[in-house]
Amino acid sequence: MLEQIEGSVAVARAVALCRPEVICAYPISPQTHIVEGLGELVRSGALSPCEFINVESEFAAMSVAIGASAAGARSYTATASQGLLFMAEAVYNASGLGLPIVMTVANRAIGAPINIWNDHSDSMSQRDCGWLQLFAESNQEALDLHLQAFKLAEELSMPVMVCMDGFILTHAYERVSIPSQAEVDAFLPPYEPRQVLDPNEPVSIGAMVGPEAFMEVRYLAHKKQRMALERIPEIAAEFRARFGRDSGGLLHPYRMEDAETVVIALGSVLGTLKDTVDELRAAGVPIGVLGIASFRPFPLEALRAALSPAKRVVVLEKSFSVGLGGVVSTDVRLAVAGLALRGSTVVAGLGGRAITKDSLLCVLARALRDELPDLTFLDLDQGLVDRQLERERAVRRSGPIAENLLRDVGTVASKVH
């Protein structure tokens, strides 16, 4: 059924349709409306049987999910930003134990400076934690990915993170198609755990493993992610057959036919990017977009195949490895190693700075002229940076950076670009 609802509400409804048995979460912007929505569904009895556990922290949220999943319950939680960092130790633990928990990450910047707006720093910081990471482009895809995530997680017995842009998606009211319970039940079978804490058949979960088998346990996690590279497109195909729309998969190619220049991105910015590319295509520029829907496992082979005919690749990313450059770009470079491809990274949208079509047209024009450096920060205020560096040269006690910059900008109100 089509409904005009908030992204967070759409995700709450999707999760409820998956019949989770234990939900545990600590509220944090911009994830809050998701768990509030689920809390209401549990309280009203619309989602039953389900235990909703209020916890004292994100660390506890993930830990409750670990216990619940190990005891055989389909378990769900959601977080963002600082919350994801606070639960980090348990995030690694859940994947190490092979527990198929599904978690929504409402992508948000990491402080300091404290900032509640969107970028991908949070989930990228957990890039190597062993969880699968799927990125939603729209609210419809966010909804659909949760159905697919439970299926994928439980088949592999590995946890899956569904990443959706905070505010841009979580708080946007868009039209979404909500499947019926019967349709979801036909797509997602009941959870059959591979390991379960059962007094009738006692097992020890979380035993110590020494050098004799530790590497093999880790390798198996990698192997399962590689298996997911096969299953993700199959599940997306099954989803299309049942629900009649494309969601998920490894890559989202757009106007890639004869594209000499390819722009790679993740998440909701793909919308703006497609509009920008439409404009360039209308002007006769052979340019396309490649959305990465599955960041972990990273589709190295599929990406290489898609990029082989191209001449240039621009990775537009909302994440940043300080002291290096792009995070996604590093993986893309690995995928295209040896190909004669000119590549550049554009770091954009950090801390919620708007990524506008005008700015994209500007940066892509430079890319098309082969004038784009390896690393660009979209709409960086160079003067603001230079004046702070000058202050630091001039006096030892130059003071807090954020305060200096805000005084210089002349506002303390939020300004997106």
Binding site: P49, I66, G67, A68, A90, M208
Partner: protein, 141 residues
């Protein structure tokens, strides 16, 4: 319990004389003291009775005389008895978790999970929630 106990163990005041091979000589029998489960049932102490669950079974890697192993065995066996064997254990990181589990030698005779150092209560909450929603009558220790 009336008869004099054929005590003793290492370090006792009256060490056995050389050549004395009487069974049970080195162990207390018929008491509540820790006993040797390798002895015949009639020679055992109460603590090594065949009716005990031995949820934390022998053969683990604790230091000799480890108080934590002793305490854990007392506590978990008592809980097993109280719950009729419907018990799940969550164990924080520490000696107990380490010495009891290196694969494939787990000493735990009940369903057992170790997650992290600082989250055992939350893991227990999750297990209890799962059991509640599944309508199972098990207890989480």
């Amino acid at each position: 319990m009336g008869a004099p106990l054929p005590v003793t163990g290492p370090g006792a005041e009256n060490p056995p004389e050389a050549g004395d091979t009487a069974p049970g000589k080195f162990y207390q029998t018929g008491t509540f003291t820790v006993g040797n489960r390798l002895l015949a049932p009639q020679d055992r102490s109460v603590q090594s009775s065949v009716t005990r669950d031995n949820s934390l079974n022998s053969g683990h890697r604790a230091c000799q005389g480890c108080g934590e192993a002793l305490g854990a065995r007392y506590a978990v066996d008592a809980a097993m008895r109280a719950t009729g064997g419907k018990l799940i254990a969550a164990n924080a990181t520490g000696c107990l978790e380490v010495f009891s589990t290196p694969y494939p030698e787990t000493s735990w005779q009940l369903p057992w999970i170790h997650s992290l150092f600082g989250n055992v209560a939350a893991v227990g909450t999750g297990i209890a929630a799962a059991l509640k929603v599944k309508g199972k009558a098990a207890t989480c220790a």
